[in-house]
C-alpha cells in the first residue's frame, strides 16, 4: 500500500467537489457564462470522481485506520489543530454513502432542476455541501469536523432557501440554521471543555486520554453529572441539533421547502445523520458515561415515537417523509444509546438508501404532478406512473422494514441489541414506533397510488431521473447486507450475541406486516383524509399535525419574549443615559443664560454678592 497514493486519494475526495463548487460559484461573479451542460459535467463529474476515489479507497485500505496530516491549521501554544483526515471503517462507510448517494442525487438533479433558472447556483451549493460533508466525516479533530459541520449547515440553509423569492422558504431556512446553531453552540462549548480537560481536540487522542483520565465509574454512580458526562451531553446537543432530534427537531419538517433532491441528500441521507456519525465517532467518550448513553437512548426513543406519530397525520408527502426521517434517526440514536454503534451506522446506511429513494421518487411524483405536495390531491397513480409506483413501493417497504428489505435487517439488529442490553422499555417504544412507521408509510403509499384520481400527471420522470431511482431501489432492497468492516468497527459489547427466542423474533417481524394490513383496511374504510367530526379527535389531529406543537411552544417560550425584549429596547436603553446628559447640558445652558440678563445693576450685585459670600466663607473657617 502506497501511503502517499492513498493520502492523495483521500485528499481528493473532499477537494474534488470543493473544486466544482468553487468554479461554479466564482464564474458568475466574474461574469463568465457557463452552459448548462458544462455545469452538469463539472458538478456531476466532480462528485463521480470523488465517488471513484472512495471506491478505490475501499479497495486500497487494508489497515484499521489511516490518518494523514496535510498541514497545520492553527497552532497556538499547546493548542494544535491540523488538517488531518482520519479514515477508518466508519468514515469509509460514510464517504461511500455520501459520494455514492450524492452522485446519484446529483445525476437525478440534472433532470429535476432542468427547467430552473438557477441551475448553476443549485449545483454549486450541492457540490459545496458534499465537500463539507466529506470534511465532516473525514476530519481527525473536532474543529475540522466542526468546519464541515457548519459547512453542511450553511449549505442546508442555502438550499432550503433555494427558491428565495418566497419568504416562507427563507424563514424555513433561517429556522433550520438557527436551531442547528443552537445545538452547534453546545457542541462548541463541549469542544472547549474537552480541550480544557484533555488539552487536545484530536478525536482519537480525546478518546484515549479521556479513558485514562476518567475511568468508567461504577454503575451505582452513573447518574452523577461528572465531567465526561457534561462533555458528552454537550456533544449530544450538537448531534441533536443537526440530526433533528428532540428538542431541536422542529426545523426538519420545515426544511422541506427546498428542492426535493436536496431533501433527499441533505435532510434524509447525509447531513441529518451527522449527529449519529458524531456520536459513533466519539463512542469511546460516550461509553465512559453511562448517563450520557442513557440520554442518547432516551432522546432517540422519545423522538422516534413523537415523530412517527406526527407522521401519521401529515398531508404533505415531503413532510411525512421528513417526520419519518426524524423518527428513523431516533432509531439510530436509540441504537447508539444502547451501545449498538455498528447497528446504528448500519441503519444509517440503509436509511440513506431507502430514504433517498423515497424522496427522489417523491420528487419525481411532485415533478410530474405540477409541484403538488398534498397526498390527498393525488390518487390512483399506480398505473399512470409505474416507475414511481415501484420505487415508492420499495421505499415504503424498506421504511416499514418489511422482511428482507434493507431496512428490515438494520432495524431488527437494533431491536435485538435493545433486548441484549435489557432495555425493554425502549424496546417496546421501538416496536410501537415500528408499527406506526409501517402504518403511515403504507398510508402514504395507498393514498397516492390507489386513492381517488384527482389530478393527472403531465409528464413521466425523465430518464436521467430514472437511472438513479433504479440504482437506489436496488440498494434499498439489497443494501441490507452489513459490510464486515462495520461489524468489526467497534470493539464494544457486540461480542455477547445472545440469541433471542423465536417468538420475539417472529413478533418483531410480524408487527410491520400487521401494520401494513391494518393500514390497508383503514384505507379501504376511507379513514384517511376524512374530515374529523369529533372535537377531541380534531384537537389530537391538530396536535399531531403540528408535530406535537413544538413550534407553538417555542414561539411562546422563546421567540415571542425574545422579539418583545428586543423590540422594547430597540432604541437602546443605554442611549437614554447619554440623551439625559444632553438634555441636562441644555438645561444648564438655559439656566446659566438666564443670569446674562443684560442688567447692569444685577451685574454689580453679583460682584458685591460674591465678595460677601467669599468673606463669609473665609471668616466662618
Amino acid at each position: 500500500m502506497d501511503i502517499q497514493y492513498i493520502s492523495n486519494l483521500l485528499l481528493a475526495v473532499p477537494l474534488l467537489p470543493l473544486f466544482g463548487a468553487t468554479v461554479l460559484i466564482l464564474a458568475p461573479l466574474f461574469s463568465i457564462q457557463i452552459p448548462k451542460l458544462i455545469v452538469s459535467v463539472i458538478a456531476v463529474g466532480s462528485i463521480s470522481l470523488a465517488a471513484i476515489c472512495s471506491i478505490l479507497l475501499n479497495i486500497e485500505l487494508n489497515e484499521p485506520s489511516f490518518n494523514p496530516v496535510y498541514g497545520n491549521w492553527i497552532q497556538v501554544d499547546e493548542l494544535t489543530i491540523s488538517f488531518g483526515l482520519y479514515l477508518d471503517a466508519l468514515s469509509l462507510v460514510m464517504i461511500s454513502i455520501i459520494t455514492g448517494v450524492g452522485f446519484l442525487i446529483h445525476l437525478y438533479s440534472i433532470g429535476f432542476m432542468d427547467k430552473d433558472k438557477d441551475f448553476q447556483r443549485y449545483f454549486a451549493y450541492l457540490n459545496l455541501f458534499v465537500a463539507a460533508m466529506l470534511i465532516l466525516v473525514l476530519a481527525d479533530n473536532l474543529l475540522l469536523l466542526f468546519l464541515g459541520w457548519e459547512g453542511v449547515g450553511l449549505c442546508s440553509y442555502l438550499l432550503i432557501g433555494f427558491w428565495h423569492e418566497e419568504t416562507k422558504n427563507n424563514l424555513a431556512a433561517n429556522k433550520a440554521f438557527i436551531m442547528t446553531r443552537i445545538g452547534d453552540t453546545g457542541m462548541a462549548i463541549g469542544m472547549f471543555l474537552l480541550f480544557f480537560q484533555l488539552g487536545t481536540l484530536n478525536i482519537q487522542q480525546i478518546q484515549t486520554s479521556a479513558a485514562e483520565l476518567w475511568p468508567l465509574v461504577d454503575v451505582n454512580q452513573k447518574y452523577n453529572l461528572d465531567m465526561v458526562t457534561i462533555c458528552c451531553l454537550l456533544l449530544l446537543a450538537g448531534a441533536v441539533g443537526k440530526s433533528g432530534q428532540l428538542p431541536l427537531q422542529s426545523w426538519l419538517p420545515d426544511a422541506m421547502a427546498g428542492p426535493t433532491p436536496v431533501s433527499a441528500l441533505i435532510h434524509a441521507a447525509t447531513m441529518v445523520t451527522a449527529g449519529v456519525y458524531l456520536i459513533a465517532r466519539c463512542h469511546g467518550l460516550f461509553e465512559l458515561s453511562p448517563f450520557a448513553m442513557q440520554c442518547v437512548a432516551a432522546v432517540g426513543a422519545i423522538t422516534l415515537f413523537i415523530a412517527a406519530s406526527a407522521a401519521l397525520v401529515q398531508n404533505d408527502v415531503k413532510r411525512i417523509l421528513a417526520y419519518s426521517t426524524i423518527s428513523q434517526i431516533g432509531y439510530m440514536f436509540l441504537a447508539l444509546g444502547a451501545g449498538a454503534f455498528s447497528a446504528a451506522v448500519f441503519h444509517l446506511m440503509t436509511h440513506a438508501f431507502f430514504k433517498a429513494l423515497l424522496f427522489l421518487s417523491a420528487g419525481a411524483l411532485i415533478y410530474s404532478m405540477h409541484h403538488e405536495h398534498n397526498i390527498f390531491r393525488m390518487g390512483g397513480l399506480a398505473k399512470k406512473l409505474p416507475v414511481v409506483w415501484l420505487c415508492f413501493f420499495i421505499g415504503c417497504a424498506a421504511l416499514a422494514s418489511l422482511p428482507l428489505m434493507s431496512g428490515f435487517w438494520s432495524k431488527e439488529l437494533i431491536l435485538g441489541k435493545l433486548l441484549d442490553q435489557h432495555m425493554y422499555g425502549y424496546w417496546l417504544i421501538a416496536i410501537a414506533g415500528a408499527f406506526i412507521t409501517a402504518f403511515y408509510s403504507f398510508r402514504l403509499f395507498f393514498v397516492i397510488f390507489y386513492g381517488e384520481t384527482k389530478k393527472e400527471p403531465d409528464s413521466q420522470p425523465s430518464r436521467i431521473m430514472v437511472i438513479p431511482l433504479s440504482i437506489l431501489g436496488f440498494l434499498a432492497i439489497f443494501g441490507g447486507i452489513q459490510p464486515q468492516g462495520l461489524i468489526d468497527m467497534f470493539s464494544s459489547p457486540d461480542s455477547g450475541q445472545a440469541s433471542h427466542s423465536i417468538a420475539i423474533v417472529a413478533f418483531t417481524i410480524l408487527v410491520p406486516i400487521c401494520a401494513v394490513v391494518f393500514s390497508f383496511f383503514q384505507f379501504k374504510k376511507g379513514v384517511f383524509g376524512r374530515i374529523i367530526q369529533s372535537s377531541v379527535l380534531n384537537q389530537i389531529h391538530r396536535f399531531l399535525l403540528s408535530g406535537w406543537a413544538f413550534d407553538w411552544f417555542y414561539q411562546k417560550i422563546f421567540i415571542d419574549p425574545f422579539i418583545e425584549l428586543t423590540r422594547m429596547n430597540k432604541s437602546d436603553v443605554i442611549d437614554l443615559f447619554y440623551k439625559t446628559i444632553i438634555g441636562a447640558s441644555r438645561m444648564l445652558h438655559n439656566f446659566l443664560s438666564q443670569f446674562q440678563n443684560g442688567q447692569l445693576r444685577w451685574y454689580s450685585t453679583s460682584l458685591v454678592l460674591f465678595s460677601v459670600i467669599s468673606l463669609t466663607f473665609l471668616l466662618s473657617r
Binding site: S593, T605, V608
Partner: protein, 100 residues
C-alpha cells in the same frame, strides 16, 4: 480724638454706602456719584493709614485715587451725555439690549 478704629469703621461705612448706592440707584449719574463715594472711602482709609504708619505711600495713593476719580468721571460723563442724547433717559435698566 479720632482713633484708628473709628476711622477704619468710618471708611467701611462710607464704602458700604457707596456700594449700596451703586446697587439701588437706577440713574447713571447717581451711580457715578456712588462710585465716587466708594473711592473717597478708600481715600480716607489711605490717608488715615498713612498717618498711622507715618509714611507717605498712602498720601500718594490718595492723589492717584483722586486722579482716577476725575478721569473716571470725565469718561463717565461723556457716556452719560451720549446716552441721554440717544435715549432721553439715564435709567441704566434700559440698557439691556444684550443678553443671553
Amino acid at each position: 480724638m479720632i482713633t484708628e478704629g473709628s476711622l477704619f469703621f468710618f471708611s467701611i461705612a462710607l464704602f458700604c454706602i457707596g456700594v449700596f448706592g451703586v446697587l439701588v440707584r437706577r440713574n447713571l449719574l447717581f451711580i457715578l456719584i456712588s462710585i465716587e463715594i466708594m473711592l473717597n472711602a478708600v481715600a480716607v482709609l489711605f490717608v488715615a493709614a498713612s498717618s498711622i504708619h507715618n509714611n507717605s505711600d498712602g498720601q500718594i495713593m490718595y492723589l492717584l485715587i483722586l486722579t482716577l476719580a476725575a478721569s473716571e468721571v470725565a469718561v463717565g460723563l461723556g457716556l452719560v451725555i451720549q446716552m441721554y442724547r440717544r435715549s432721553k433717559t439715564l435709567d441704566v435698566d434700559q440698557l439691556s439690549s444684550m443678553k443671553g
